[in-house]
Structure formats: structure tokens, C-alpha cells
Subunit: 342 residues, 2 copies
Amino acid sequence: MSRSTSTKSRASGRVTLSDVARLAGVAPMTASRAINQPELVSSLLRQRVEQAVQELGYVPNRAARALASAQSNVIVVLVPSLSNTVFTAVLQGIQDVLDADNYQVLIGNTRYSDAEEEKLLNIYMQSNPDGILLCGLTHSPRVQQMLATSKVPVVSMMDLSDDPAQLCVGFSQLDAGETMTRYLIDKGRRRIGFMGAQLDERTLKRREGYRKAMMDAGLADPQLELMVPDPSTIALGAELLGRMLARVPDCDAIFCCNDDLAHGAVYQCQRRGIAVPERLAICGFNDLPASAWMKPSLTTVGTPRYRIGYEAATMLRAAIRGEVPAQTHLDLGFTLMARESA
Amino acid sequence: MSRSTSTKSRASGRVTLSDVARLAGVAPMTASRAINQPELVSSLLRQRVEQAVQELGYVPNRAARALASAQSNVIVVLVPSLSNTVFTAVLQGIQDVLDADNYQVLIGNTRYSDAEEEKLLNIYMQSNPDGILLCGLTHSPRVQQMLATSKVPVVSMMDLSDDPAQLCVGFSQLDAGETMTRYLIDKGRRRIGFMGAQLDERTLKRREGYRKAMMDAGLADPQLELMVPDPSTIALGAELLGRMLARVPDCDAIFCCNDDLAHGAVYQCQRRGIAVPERLAICGFNDLPASAWMKPSLTTVGTPRYRIGYEAATMLRAAIRGEVPAQTHLDLGFTLMARESA
DNA sequence: CTGAAAGCGCTTACAG
DNA sequence: CTGAAAGCGCTTACAG
């Protein structure tokens, strides 16, 4: 696999801009312009360059461009999970904005781990990103420091910050948790359990809302909270339902921190012959596709995940361009979906 | 926001390797070695460099490294969907192999479109990837040409190729489709429908297997095939079930090309009071988490998606290192999951 | 509208 | 084990 020439050159063998320029009979600078800012080049030269590009199959070298221009056109997105469709919908929204714009989106999966987030961000900072999209408001001190010193624009997704300076797009997880709980209380439920898994920031916020509503109604009871750090799955929901009923036999409703858990709880009730919602009301969070179709259909909270990604990317792009944002906090709201299960 | 110095410098203001070297009192080359190949540097200088890195908060510039070394450490992965958990599991397997290795994984979502695949690959080739991971065996001529001329190692995922030279990891989609159909025939079903959506390569291969089994049993009937190009969803499965029964009233089993469709079909049967499996057997493909838990539980085909990603990434890494693969085709098989619905 | 020069921040390929 | 020189493939910042 030796090079055909015997020079000591480190050339990669790939076609470069200089090759294109030579074939087109112009300076590399002109070839560069013809490709990136064609309106600045006479149509004659532009055509000659375009033809040379075609003929040689020229592919620009992104690393060289990034180095010379000090602009990477890279956007880093860190999500806590790829198996949770909530975040893949967020990613879809992001890509729909950014793909069209010649941005390269680096997707990192933090697996709900602060340490992993730190590690990924550390690696991705090497790519000198133009902007960063994160999930949630709380991050490790080192992550906060990295972001602060880099001065790269950041938009936080999913929740709304208390800090007015922080760019964020989402909805109040706390309000949503409170709203769902009040709905159950209004339906006459009294012994309302809360089932939480993963114990990520959003689950804890939803529980805060649950607590607030229970407290206000004078129904609070620590026994009613069942929290485990395991990842949310249907299987876990099925298991936790059993544990909840064993611990609180008179439990008459369960607010699951997300739909996966709720699905598992409903399926478990079907197996055990527990009537939903008559004997036990069950509700979830996020409104996954199956929730509307299963029997009984699931009462849950609809969340604007696709739009969160879409609007966050739009806001980030504006920030990168140095535009002053019309608003730093974009509240996209949530929707209570009252169905058969509660 | 002007620079503090009045030089014409294009310097980005970021800390560079030279800054580290200066502070450590060594040449940039030595600083580079201390960071990337520490075993080649005396422990004294190594420590001085490490301290300088800490003190300055040095972050290496990946673009500069890629340009100088002609090695990007980028791996491109193209999947047809991010909302389908099959592919997010594949990605998980890939990341578990590659994240540890300082590779940067670029994830592209082709949305089941050849044109989009072509566009994404075109853009990603600018990053000069060390290797590429694709889903499926068939690609547009231009994609094939790009891959051929670039000489970048490629591993195909999901199915097994007829071409012995093509690196691939997966299982026979055709055999799986045939196996599931024979299972239904062996159960005494005669009017077995096939419901397919998206019409991607894998769905068509599964249908081929279905046809083969039906033909062999003398049960083939074009009326039994219901194929639509729309994306697979639960809602679509529910709708298609209605259309299938309207068209083939004596249909006694339905093989859905994937679990989403099957879930929708089962839910629709529940709504219409159609007994599953007594009146109508329903089965799916992929064994998503809900399939084992729903009532009736879903008969389906278990597929090794995480392992496909894991093994494909492992094979690609070996190919990048120039190792001769022990085998070019890795068949990970599939498992018929016989449950309640069929 | 076009181009010659310099430089982005690293690593290769030597030489000592 | 250490380092001076050159170069990777582009774009910036000028100058004409």
C-alpha cells in the first residue's frame, strides 16, 4: 500500500482544495469561495470550480475548516437515555432544526449519570462546539465550571430554571406533578401512592408536586411514596405495584412517575384481577403511544417533547448567532390526558 | 469583546499545547507526548506537563489533531430511526464498545430514506471517518460508490449478506419470517395474513420468508398480504387489523412485521371483542418489552439487537486496526417467543 | 472579483 | 528521552 510517489509527503492521498483549484485554474482561495460563498465569485470561475469538484470527487475536510476558521459547526446534545422515547423525540426536534443548517450534532448518552455527563462533556469539548443542549437544570460542579469557562452558549431542556439568565425550554415538572395529583384527589381518591424510579431530577420534581398537593389536602403519608433508583421499565412497574399494595393495602390510586411504570402496573393489575380504575386508579406521565390504546387506556400527562427539542435548538441557534433572545425561558406547558385508568 | 492584545493574531484565545509546553518548560512535542504517549516521557517532565495541563485547564483541539494525524477517530453510524427501540438498542451496543476507545460516534438518522442516507453520508464523509456502521444491505448506487472510493471500513448490521466479502452482523430476516409463519401453520392456522408497514428492507425480507412458508404449505393467497408504506405505529396496527378483517373475513391469524403493529392489532381486538388467539392469532416481531407483559402476552420473534451493535462495533474496530476478521459474516440468530397471542 | 501570504493547533518524521 | 522543522488542508486578513 505504498504511495505511488517516493516523496516524504504526509499527504493523505485525498483530493484537496488545492487539487480542485489547480484543475480549475484558480487560486485555492477562489476555489474556497466558489464552494462556500458562491455569490462572491464570477459565474465563469464558479462553474469551472464546480466542474473540478465534480470531476475529482472533492470532499471538504471538516477538520481543516474547523481549525482555520475556529468554528466547528458542532452542536453537542447530552441526553440521559436513548431507550426512553421521550428523549428520542427531543432529538428528532433538534435534528429537524439543525440538520438543515450544516451543523453536526454530537449526541451523547449520559445514562442518567452525572459522572458520565462530565466525562462526555469533557470529550466533546475537544470538538470546540458552537453550542450545547443539555437536559435538566442541575449538573455537577465541574460540568458547571466547564460550561462557564468555555463561554459556549447552552440551552437547558425539559424544565424551567429559577435563574432568569439561564436559557431553557420545557415546562414545570413540579406543576405537572401537582396537577395530576390534584386530579386524583378531585376524583375522590384519598390514599394516593407515588411510584418513582431512576430518581432523576424530573422524577423528584414531579414528586415535589405530588407532595405539595397531598400536603394541601391533608393526605400526606410517607408510606405512600415508593422510590427506587433502578431504571424505569414495564417489569419494574409490575413489581412495584405488588410492593405498594403489600405496604399500603388500602391504597386507592397510584401516580407513576412515567408511563413505563404505569403500563407495568396496569398489566400487573390485569394479572391479579384488580379492577382499574374501580379498585385502583393508575396514572402515568408522558403519554407514550401505547397509553391511548391499551385497555384500560391510561390517564397521563402529555408533554411537548418534540417541541422542546425543536424550540431549544432554535433558541440555541439564535444565541450562537449572537441574537438577543426574546425570552430566556420558554414554557411549553403540559396537558392532562384524562382517560379510563384514573 | 476585543482581545486584550492588539496583535493581528487569529488566535482563538483558547489554551493551546504551546501554552502548556511553555509553562512546563518543555517543547510542544514533549507536551504532546506526555499527554498522548506518557510512557515515552520521563516521569519528571510528564509530571510538569500534567500540572501545567491542570493549571491552565488545557483542552486538546480535536480538529488540529485530526488534521495533523490524518486520523479522525470518528465513527459514523447510520440508523433508519431513533424512535424505534430496536435501533436505540443497537446504538447502545455500539457505544458500549466504542465510547471506551476515544472514538467519537456520529449518529445519523436516515428516516428510512435512501436519499437522506446519501445526504447524511455525504456530510459525514467530510469528517473523514475511520469506519462506518450501516443498517441493511441495500443502498443507493451513489452511497455504494462513496463507500467504495473512500476505502473506509464498513460493517453492515441487521441482516446477512450474500456477498462473502461484505462485513456484516445480524441474522437472517428471511429465515425468521419463515420460522414464524411455519409456527402458525403448525398450530393449525390456514388463513394467515401478513401485515407490513414502512416497507423497509427487513420487512420485505420477512415477507419473503412468510411467502416461502405459505407457498410450501399450499396456503399462499395475495389477498392475505396487507402492505402500506407508512411508519409502523400502534395506531396503524389497529387500523390495519380492521382493513385485514374487512378484506379477508375468514382470516384466522396475522403475522405483523413488527411488535408495534401487533400491539395495535391486539388492542383493536380487545376493543372489538375479538378473542385472541381463539378467533384470531396475532404475532409480532422483535419482542419489545411490552410484549411479554400485555394481556394476552404477544407471540413474537426475539432479536439480538444490542448484541448486533456490540459485535458490529467490535468487528469494525478490528477492521480499522487492519486485523483480518476471523469471519466476515456473524450470524447472531433469533428466537421464537411462543406466548399467549398465537 | 481574485489571489499571495500567513496561520489555525496539532503530529509526523527526523535528528540528536 | 527530547526537540526543531515542516506540514496537515483549510480560511482569515489583507492587498490589489
